[in-house]
């Protein structure tokens, strides 16, 4: 007997990502310091429950071009985490408060443990996540706000959620953000949109900690090259004027 199952039609058309004004884009783009600090708060209070950020160190939080917490603040943040160190003189591993030089503590021991705790799906490491997705910041920003009721006819397995911007529209992560899920320490209203923007800004910095230095140096380098090019152009004209020819 043939059973015609209702085919799941995955919309193949390209979805337009949500847009917002990123301060770090453009020739002179810089991060919004306050947004980075709020973004760190979203990361550490929400995302960090499942997502690691293994290439970042606590010292990065106080470095120039980043959230620029004071060194004291960064030290306090580091100290709020328990880090496994060792072995000590007795050959035992031991727990101690984190230091600036420590890497961000991971929520799971390893990938397998992360998968086991998340229904078989590995919550990707967020260190370079923005650069690892085709749509970049716009994609992450949209995804965080893309949770909707699944269209009728679409069958979702247990633990699978519908997201407008996810590839194939199915995502294992449940909607991580909801209004006022956290309370911003600077008093900003924690709407989903605001939190999405802040945490995405934070992720952009995490993936490209040298972005500001790069933009600044780039401008200087290009201005320098243009001036030099103009000077060399006139030198060239002068030198070639000795020859009956055109350059």
């Amino acid at each position: 007997m043939f059973c015609v199952s209702s085919a799941i039609v995955i919309s193949a058309e390209k979805v337009e990502y949500l847009k917002t004004d990123w301060t770090f884009k453009g020739l002179f783009g810089k991060f919004d310091r306050a947004s980075l600090q709020r973004g760190y708060q979203v990361y550490t209070e929400v995302c960090a429950a499942c997502h690691s950020m293994k290439y970042l160190s606590y010292r990065n939080l106080s470095e120039k071009g980043g959230p620029e917490f004071s060194v004291a603040q960064a030290k306090a943040i580091a100290a709020s985490f328990e880090v496994t160190d060792g072995p000590n003189a007795d050959g035992e591993m031991f727990q101690r408060p984190g230091k600036l030089s420590d890497k961000f503590v991971m929520p799971y021991e390893n990938v397998k443990a992360a998968e086991a705790a998340n229904g078989g799906a590995y919550p990707p490491d967020m260190s370079v996540l923005v650069k690892a997705r085709g749509g970049g910041v716009d994609y992450i920003y949209s995804l965080l706000q893309g949770y909707e009721e699944a269209p009728s006819g679409m069958i979702l397995d247990d633990g699978v959620h519908y997201n407008k911007y996810m590839y194939g529209n199915k995502i294992k992560m449940s909607a991580p953000l909801s209004d006022e899920i956290i309370e911003y320490s600077d008093g900003t209203k924690a709407s989903v949109e605001q939190m999405s923007k802040d945490v995405t800004t934070f992720l952009m910095w995490a993936a490209e900690p040298s972005l500001e230095a790069r933009h600044q140096m780039g401008f200087k380098a290009i201005v320098y090259l243009i001036i030099l090019t103009v000077l060399v152009y006139f030198s060239m004209k002068r030198i070639w004027s000795r020859v009956k020819s055109e350059v």
Partner: protein, 420 residues
């Protein structure tokens, strides 16, 4: 190659030069008579030298911090990006430098195709150039594997698997290349070694390329032989040096734009995901500069024939001096060839485009037509054209138009300016 024998002025210089004639070489390089009508398409040789040296210097620094191990490569790249002083700058210059290198080499090759620089007596220069180009592709491919991201791993898997198409020994060859039964740590370490070696092979070949160039001297936009030294030529220094320098600076502005403002635009996002042998990316695509050949590979349904077609597409260039039967070098005087030249340019661009698309439906059809045309151009059009084409008469010298102009040259000039 000046007429007079060079003697250093100082006594010490003469003593040294009698034992090792480095000063004679330096004198030859500065005095080297160059046609004075070279246009900006001729500045890419110097630009390519700059690219090679940039890649070698930045590569050396990266190699000091990079760790060629399957478990540590990805992390060590992030270490370079985050903790090494200006590591991000060095790495972005190196990564984008590869693209800039290929951009320049494609312009250089297509300049040669337009002005017939590959023809007698410059066949050896051309063939060395093709070998350099092949080595560049090998170096770029292996370099892309080193960060050990998803595209690194799967690109390496796809490309090395091509060797399995060799009859009888294919599978064995692939295992030998991998150093195991899949792309893994042994593959990474040997790719790193070869990636380090190849640039120096290229450097050696570049010396031969330039040496071979300095025997007949440069071709030029008019494509006729130039008497050297004469009123048709200028000494390399300062005339060509400053012109090459000016063009190089313009090139560097474009280069800097990519490095500082769009450092990842030419790469693939998947390569920021650490290699995972258990997860295959949705689309495995090579870097943009290899796409036309990737399209040719995929346009043939049979694996072995696909590989043969891809390799032939490159190797056919080596016999180009004999496939092109026309004695006239410059396309300026070959009105029909000029049209076919531009069709070929379009054909290669189309191949590049479909190479980035999934190999199915209309894309596959376009890829097949474009592949067929590519071979048609070299195997049929060029040999026949050289025998049948009605060419425009050549001027007597390149100075002729400068000193008053011949009707031929004036006409040619007008046509040329339209192209540029």
């Amino acid at each position: 190659m000046s007429d007079h024998e060079y003697t250093p002025k100082s006594k010490a210089g003469k003593w040294f030069n009698d034992r090792l004639p480095l000063l004679t070489l330096a004198n030859h390089l500065t005095d080297y008579p160059t046609p004075k009508n070279l246009n900006y398409w001729w500045t890419f040789g110097g630009i390519l030298t700059f690219c090679l040296i940039t890649q070698i210097v930045t590569g050396l620094v990266l190699a000091m911090h990079y760790i060629a191990h399957a478990d540590m490569a990805f992390e060590s790249v992030e270490h370079i990006m985050r903790d090494v002083n200006y590591g991000w700058l060095i790495r972005y210059i190196h990564a984008n430098g590869a693209s800039m290198f290929f951009l320049a080499v494609y312009i250089h090759i297509f300049r040669s195709l337009f002005y017939g620089s590959y023809k007698s007596p410059r066949e050896i220069i051309w063939i060395i150039g093709i070998i350099i180009y092949l080595l560049m592709m090998a170096a770029a491919f292996m370099g892309y594997v080193l960060p050990w991201g998803q595209m690194s791993f799967w690109g390496a898997t796809v490309i090395t698997n091509l060797f399995s198409a060799i009859p009888l020994v294919g599978e064995g060859v692939v295992t030998w290349l991998w150093g195991g039964y899949s792309v893994d740590n042994p593959t990474l370490t040997r790719f790193f070694t070869l990636h380090y070696l190849i640039p120096f092979l290229i450097l050696g070949l570049v010396v031969l390329h330039i040496w071979a160039l300095h025997v007949p001297g440069n071709n030029n936009p008019v494509g006729i032989d130039v008497k050297k030294p004469s009123k048709d030529t200028v000494p390399f220094h300062p005339y060509i040096v400053i012109k090459d320098g000016f063009a190089l600076l313009m090139f560097m502005i474009v280069f800097a734009f990519f490095v500082f403002y769009a450092p990842n635009i030419l790469g693939h996002a998947d390569n920021y995901i650490e290699a995972n042998p258990l997860v295959t990316p949705a689309h495995i695509v090579p870097e943009w500069y290899l796409l036309p050949f990737y399209a040719i590979l995929r346009s043939v349904p049979d694996k072995l024939l696909g590989v043969v077609a891809m390799l032939s597409a490159i190797l056919i260039l080596a016999v180009l001096p004999w496939l092109d039967t026309s004695k006239i070098r410059s396309a300026v005087f070959r009105p029909l060839y000029k049209q076919f030249y531009w069709i070929l340019v379009a054909d290669v661009l189309i191949l590049g485009y479909v190479g980035a698309m999934p190999a199915e439906g209309l894309y596959l059809l376009i890829a097949r037509v474009a592949t067929a045309y590519y071979f048609l151009h070299f195997l049929v059009i060029l040999p026949v054209l050289g025998l049948k084409e009605r060419t425009i008469p050549l001027p007597l010298s390149i100075t002729e138009p400068v000193l008053g102009g011949s009707p031929n040259m004036a006409m040619a000039k007008k046509k040329e300016s339209k192209i540029e």
